[in-house]
C-alpha cells in the first residue's frame, strides 16, 4: 500500500560514493545491448562520458544514437549492460527511485518538446511547480533568471508556437536547467536549423556547459558542429562504438572510409586540421 500511495518525496535515493562523484568519468556505459524483436540495435556499447565536458555521440542514421539516448534518460530499459551514473547503475532503477534520480538529467529534445498548452514561463516553471515546494515568488525569480541568462526573458508570456526554432531551443535549455541538472542531453540540437542558428545553438551548448558546470551529451550527425565544439567524441556505427576520444584522437584512429564520411558531412579540412593540432 505504501508503494501504491507513495509520492516522489518518499522515494529513497541510491547511494553515490564521494569517490564516484570525484571521478572524471561521470557516466560509464558498459556492454549495453538493446533489441527490438529480432533486430539488435545496440550491440554491446562501452564508453565513458566525462564530467563537465561536451561529449558528442555521432554516427550515420541508423547507427543507434537515438536508441542510446532513450536508454540514457531511461525512456526505455536496456536488455543488458550497465549505465553507471556517479557509480549507481541507472539501468536497474525503477519506479519512484528512478524518478528521484531523473533530477540529475535535463533533456533538450530535437523538436524542443515544449508544451503547446503553456506559455514559455509556465514551461520553464513546470519542473519547479511539480517537484519543489518553492513559493510563487521564488519560482518567478528562478525562471526569469534562467530565461534572462539564455536571452529569452522577453518571450516569457508568449506561447512556444510564436518563437523561432533557435528561441525554442533556448527555452528548452532553460527548462532543462531550471532544476540545476548535472547532465544535459541534447538530441540532434541543430537538425533542421539554418547555419546562423546552428552556430548560435553551438555557442549555447558551450556557454551553458561553462556557466553551469554541467556535463553535456550531444547526440548529433551534424559533423561541422561536432568538430567545432566537442571535447570528446564517440563514433557509433551499426550499434557498436567505432572510436571514442578527443577530436584529435578520433581523427587519428578512424579508418579512411569513416574520415571520408565525416568530410562528406560538411566538415571543412581547416576545422579537422585545427582539431588535429589542438585536440
Amino acid at each position: 500500500m505504501k508503494r501504491l500511495f507513495g509520492g516522489l518525496g518518499q522515494a529513497s535515493t541510491p547511494v553515490e560514493t564521494p569517490e564516484a562523484r570525484a571521478d572524471a568519468v561521470q557516466i560509464r556505459i558498459q556492454d549495453l545491448h538493446k533489441s527490438y524483436g529480432t533486430h539488435e540495435v545496440l550491440k554491446g556499447l562501452s564508453f565513458d562520458i566525462r564530467r563537465g565536458k561536451v561529449n558528442h555521440i555521432i554516427g550515420p542514421s541508423g547507427s543507434g544514437k537515438t536508441v542510446l539516448m532513450r536508454q540514457l534518460v531511461r525512456l526505455e530499459s536496456p536488455d543488458s549492460g550497465q549505465i553507471l551514473v556517479d557509480g549507481v547503475d541507472w539501468a536497474t532503477l525503477h519506479g519512484l527511485t528512478l524518478d528521484r534520480m531523473r533530477i540529475k538529467f535535463g533533456m533538450v529534445f530535437q523538436m524542443s518538446a515544449l508544451f503547446d498548452s503553456m506559455t514559455v514561463f509556465e514551461n520553464v516553471a513546470f519542473p519547479l511547480v511539480e517537484h519543489t515546494s518553492m513559493s510563487k515568488q521564488e519560482i518567478r525569480e528562478r525562471v526569469m533568471d534562467r530565461l534572462g541568462i539564455l536571452g529569452v526573458a522577453a518571450a516569457a508570456n508568449k506561447s512556444p508556437a510564436e518563437l523561432s526554432g533557435g528561441m525554442q531551443k533556448r527555452v528548452a535549455v532553460a527548462r532543462a536547467l531550471v532544476r540545476e541538472s548535472e547532465v544535459l542531453i541534447y538530441d540532434e540540437p541543430t537538425t533542421g536549423l539554418d547555419p546562423l542558428t546552428t552556430q548560435t545553438v553551438d555557442e549555447l551548448i558551450l556557454e551553458t556547459g561553462e556557466r553551469f558546470g554541467v556535463t553535456s551529451i550531444v547526440i548529433s550527425h551534424d559533423m561541422a558542429s561536432v568538430f567545432r565544439i566537442a571535447d570528446r567524441i564517440t563514433f557509433l556505427n551499426f550499434g557498436r562504438v567505432e572510436a571514442t576520444g578527443t577530436p584529435a584522437e578520433l581523427l587519428e584512429t578512424l579508418e579512411p572510409a569513416t574520415l571520408a564520411f565525416i568530410k562528406a558531412s560538411g566538415v571543412s579540412q581547416d576545422i579537422l586540421d585545427e582539431r588535429s593540432r589542438n585536440g
Binding site: 509520492g7 540495435v41 547507427s63 536508441v67 525512456l75 528521484r100 519542473p127 511539480e130
Partner: protein, 286 residues
Amino acid sequence: MTSESKAAPRDADANQAPGESPAPSVVDRLADGLFQLVLSPFVEIGALFTVLWQTLVQAVRPPYRVRLLLASAEFIGVGSIFLVSLTAFFIGAVLSLQLVDGFRDFGAQSQTGAVVGLGMARELAPVFTALMVSSRAGSAITTELGSMRVSSQIDALVTMAVNPIQYLVVPRVLAGLVTVPILTLVFDVVGMFGAYLVGVHLMGLDPGVFMERMRWLVDWDDVRQGLIKAAIFGFTIALVACRQGFHASGGAAGVGQATNRSVVQNAIAILALDYVVTAVILGQGL
C-alpha cells in the same frame, strides 16, 4: 513508470549491417500478415487493459491533480453541452413525430410522451450523448495526446519525473466518468422538450395527457439505468481516446490514424457495452 515504446525509434531500423538479416520470403510475409491480422484485436484489448490498470493505480497516487480534472471536465462536459442539446432536441422532435404518426393508426398517440420518455431515459440519451462526446471530445483528446507523443512532449514529461498517465490520462478519464452522466441528464430534459414541442404544438396532442402518460411510465429507475450506462460510456470513451493518442506513432499521418481508430473503437464499444450493460441490469439476454 517509463513510457516504453515497443516500436523501434526512428533511426533504429536503418543501416543494418550487410548480411545480418536475410529478406523474408513472400510466404513468410503472407504468414506474418495473417498472424498479425488474427492477433491485432487481442493486442488492442491488451494495450487498453494495460492503460486501464495504470490509470487505476495512478488515480489513487498523489499528487491529486484537481485543476487538471476541472479543466478536462470543462472541455469534455461544458464544451459538449451545445452539441448534446442540439442532438437531443432533434432526436426528441423526430421521435415524437414518428410515434404520433405510427400510433395514430390504432389510436394510441396519447402514449407518445411515455414511449419517448422511456426510450430517452433508458437508451437514447446515454447512447447518443456518448456518441456525440466521442465524436467531439474523444477525437480531440486522441489528437492532442497523439501530437504530444509524436513531438516528444510525453517523453519530456517522463524525463522530468512526471508520470504521463497520471498527468494526462487520469484527469480525462475521471472527467469522462463524471460529465457524461450529467450531459445525459441534459439530453433527457432537452429531448423531452423537443418531443413535447412537436407532439403538443405541431401534432395537436393534449399537453396534460402527454405529461401524465410520461410520468406514469417513466420512473427514477429508468433514469438511473441511463446514468449508469452513461458513466460507463464516459469512462470508456476517455480511456480509449487516451490509449490511442498515448501510443500514436508515425508523425501527423499516425496521429490521424490514431484519431480514426479512436472514433471507430469508441462507437463499437458504446454499442456493444450498451447491450451488455442493459442485459446485466435487466437480468436477461446474456
